[in-house]
Every structure is written in C-alpha cells, then in structure tokens.
C-alpha cells in the first residue's frame, strides 16, 4: 500500500493544479488519474481564460475569476519556462458579439448589473458599437447583423490540452507520484487517516482532495459530504487552418495559435450524453457565419462534445468534510481560468487551513441556506 501526506483523486486541470500547489509544501503528494475513458471536461473545453459576464448575482465569483486573470500571465510564463510546454496563452482581451439590437440591450443590462453588484461600483468591460469592434478586428469583416458587443481587457485564451500536459509535467518534475489508469472505488476514514481502494490496489493518505469532476459526488458521500454536480453538454467544432485573421477570443469563436477556428456555442442538459447533434452544429455554424461571413468557406474537420461540471448555482465548491476532517472537495466550472488560484490559494487552504476572503461563498453551506429560504 502506498502512503502519502496528500492524495488527490482526479488529474484533470483542477486536480492537477491543486496537486502541483501541494508539492510546494510537501514532498509527499500522490495524484490519481482515472484514464482514457473518463469524462474529461479538461480535454474537451474551449480554452478560455475568461472574466466578462461571469458571476451575476455572485460577486465573490466575479472577483475570483478576475483575480485569476490578473495573475495568469505570470503563472503561464512560469509554468511554460519550467516545463517547456508552449501553452499558447494570449491575453488580448475578449469580445462577446451581439447579434441584433435586442442582444445588445440585454448585454448592456448584464454589465450594468455586474457593475452594481461589484465592491467598488466598477466593472471593467465596455459596450462597443459595431464600428468600434470592426476597428479592433481589422482583418475580418463583421456580418451586417452584428449590432455591437462587449469588450473586456481581462479575457484571454490558451491551448487547454497544453495546459493539462504542462501541469502533469510540472507535477512529475516536482517528484509528485503520478498514477494513471487508476480509478478510485471506495474511501474509508480510519484512525484519522484515509484509505482509498482503487482498480489497482490501495492507497492511504493523511489528507485527500476530491477533484474527480463528475465522479466527485459519489466519492464525497464516502467522507460524509453531500455534493451535487450535474453535467451540461457543450458541443464544439474545429475548422481547417487559415492564416491568422482573428486576433482575439470571442465568446464562442476563436482562432487557435495554429490557425484553426474553434466554435463552441451550445448548452444542453441531457445527462451524461456526449453525442453531437448535426442540427445544433448547423445552428452554431450559422451564427459564426452571421458574425464573420468570410468563414463560410471553411471546412469543418471535427466536432465533439464535452460535459461541463456544474454545481446548482454554477459556482465552484471548495469544502472540507466536517465529519471526516482532512477530506476536501474541489470542483468547479472554469477550471482553466481558475488554475492559478487552485494551485496557490486552494492548495494553501488544504495545507494550512488559511481561507481566502469570503470563502464561505464557495462552501456547501450555501446550498442549505437556499433550501431553507
């Protein structure tokens, strides 16, 4: 049986970032990676490091994303220097395009709300009219239906596959124990320690971190925690490569560093279903062509879907078990954006118990309040 100070279950972008963070404080960290058939949001996502529009009615989450975006450039550079993996991270700011006047007015209201709710009465994201946006995107002509959009200088994007690879590389370089192809089956809390049975033998640890994405609820129940997450399917398409013409991520459309366009505009709640749907893909493609008519000539080379991991209110869940202290749940949508915070503040909380500001916003108690209210 392998014993370590910390055992992290789940080697997606969240578990891996936390595990790398734990390695700064301990020589003894084990990271379990389920394997190729896991439902990995970390591999199927769009790669945005995104702030604008997030956290309506949830000020602390809006701030949390903003804080992550502030430290991201330095974080990405350091990770890249350490591992030699090019993350293709860029922070040119990001746009959300509004098709028609109605969407423009709705978006204006979203930003006004975020401004009202913010701590200092300010929200750094501006509504721009069509002409202003066209000036920001000089190499691609906007379709006639685009009324305008919102621009935030805090948004960026990266290659999510490269980020995951870099985290795994960093963890291994830091002499963490990376165990792949191992699925956790049961967790027991005995004599203040945790015993985890898996598909390949037993592991034990002083503290365990549950970052198993869609598997988190089942595991959390074994250490006395009720955690609910549900899947929200997103479909994506990638086109053939072109010369670089789109220099900024747009909510739902981006051009990668290699020149492909990635399109991801859908949300469906259909359970654990990763099928793609041609009708939906067609609607997405139509919206892209409405935004940028020149893209109509591009061939789509692949499509896929991935399942977002959402809590009831869409916010992260960071919670220590009360009945089995030393067991922690870390789960979130926005695993890419929040990676630098998971690697620092969340890892420190697990090691030292130091809580970031207003941390109860992300605990499971908030759901009890909602239920009784």
């Amino acid at each position: 049986m392998k014993h370590s100070d910390f055992l992290v279950i789940g080697a997606g972008v969240i578990g891996s970032a936390v595990a790398c963070g734990l390695l700064r404080k301990s020589r003894s960290v084990t990271l379990l990676d389920e394997g190729g058939d896991a439902l990995r949001a970390s591999l199927g996502n769009f790669g945005l490091v995104w702030v604008q529009g997030k956290g309506q009615g949830a000020r602390r989450y809006a701030e949390w994303c903003h804080e992550a975006s502030e430290v991201f450039p330095e974080y990405a550079q350091k990770l890249q220097d350490e591992t030699g993996v090019d993350l293709a991270y860029r922070k040119p700011g990001g746009l959300t395009l509004c098709h028609g006047e109605e969407e423009y007015q709705k978006r204006t209201q979203v930003l006004a709300r975020l401004k009202n709710e913010s701590r200092h009465g300010a929200y750094d994201c501006s509504m721009l009219r069509r002409q202003e946006i066209q000036q920001m995107l000089p190499t691609l002509t906007l379709g006639p239906g685009i009324a305008g959009g919102s621009y935030s200088p805090h948004d960026g994007y990266l290659n999510p596959l490269a980020l995951l690879k870099a985290l795994h590389t960093s963890f291994t370089l830091g002499e963490g124990a990376f165990c792949s192809g191992i699925a956790a089956t049961n967790i027991y809390h005995e004599h203040g320690r945790f015993l985890v049975t898996t598909s390949k033998g037993k592991f034990s640890a002083e503290k365990i971190v549950l970052a198993a994405g869609h598997g988190v609820a089942r595991l959390a129940a074994m250490v006395g925690m009720q955690v609910e997450v549900h899947p929200e399917q997103g479909q994506l398409m990638v086109t053939e490569r072109t010369r670089p013409v789109l220099s900024m991520p747009i909510s739902g459309i981006q051009q990668t560093a290699e020149g492909s366009f990635i399109v991801g505009l859908s949300k469906r709640e259909i359970g654990f279903n990763t099928d793609t749907d041609t009708r939906l893909l067609k609607q997405m493609a139509q919206r892209v062509v409405n935004a940028f008519p020149a893209l109509a000539s591009l061939r789509i080379v692949r499509s896929w879907s991935a399942l977002r991991i959402l809590s009831a209110d869409g916010l992260p869940i960071y919670q220590q078990s009360e009945s089995c202290p030393g067991a922690y749940v870390v789960t979130s949508h926005s695993g890419i954006t929040l990676a630098p915070l998971h690697q620092t503040l969340i890892a420190d909380w697990i090691v030292d118990g130091v809580q970031p500001e207003e941390f109860e916003s992300f605990g499971t108690r908030r759901f009890d309040v909602e239920k009784t209210a």
């Binding site: 010369r243 290699e258 893209l295 061939r299 080379v301």
Partner: protein
Amino acid sequence: MLKRLHENSDRKKVTINFEGVQIEVLAGETVAAAVLAAETDYTRTSAISGVHRAPYCQMGICFECLMEIDGVPNRQACMIEVREGMKVNRQHGARGLSDEVSV
C-alpha cells in the same frame, strides 16, 4: 520510388494538371495516389513549420495530404478521385480567407 501494382492495366486514363504539368493517371484513383505515382517529392508545406509533407494515411484521417484542387485550398487529396482536366497544386502553408486584408 512508388509504382502502381498494375501499371499495365487496361483501365481508362485521364489527364490532370499538377503544378502546371500535364500528367497521365488512371481513372478511379485518388489525387494522392496519382501524384505519388508521378514521383512527387512533396504535396504541401506545413502551416506551422513550413516543412515539406506528403500523403501518409491514405484514408482521410491524418490531413497530411492537403492540396489545392480546382482552386479550393486544403482539400484531402486521398479522399478525392481524379477527374479529366483537374487542376492540382501543392498547398503552401495555411490558406487565406476571401476578405483577408493584408496588414
């Protein structure tokens, strides 16, 4: 270098234009097979590094065989049958877009 298994078959022949040169190929074969049989050294340059590439998997998966066929860029030469009079060119790097403005 590469040759057809049945070079002397009585299959119908068609003529395609490859990089400005007329070549005689067999009807029914793919563009990738036709240009390889014509002893072509490469069929595209990589969009990232610019290095020379040639058809690899021959079954539509690897995208190494991208060529410009009848004016359309980035086509998979291994998935397209030759046709009389077809114009085939190497794909040089990434394609552009119709309304691209040079800056």
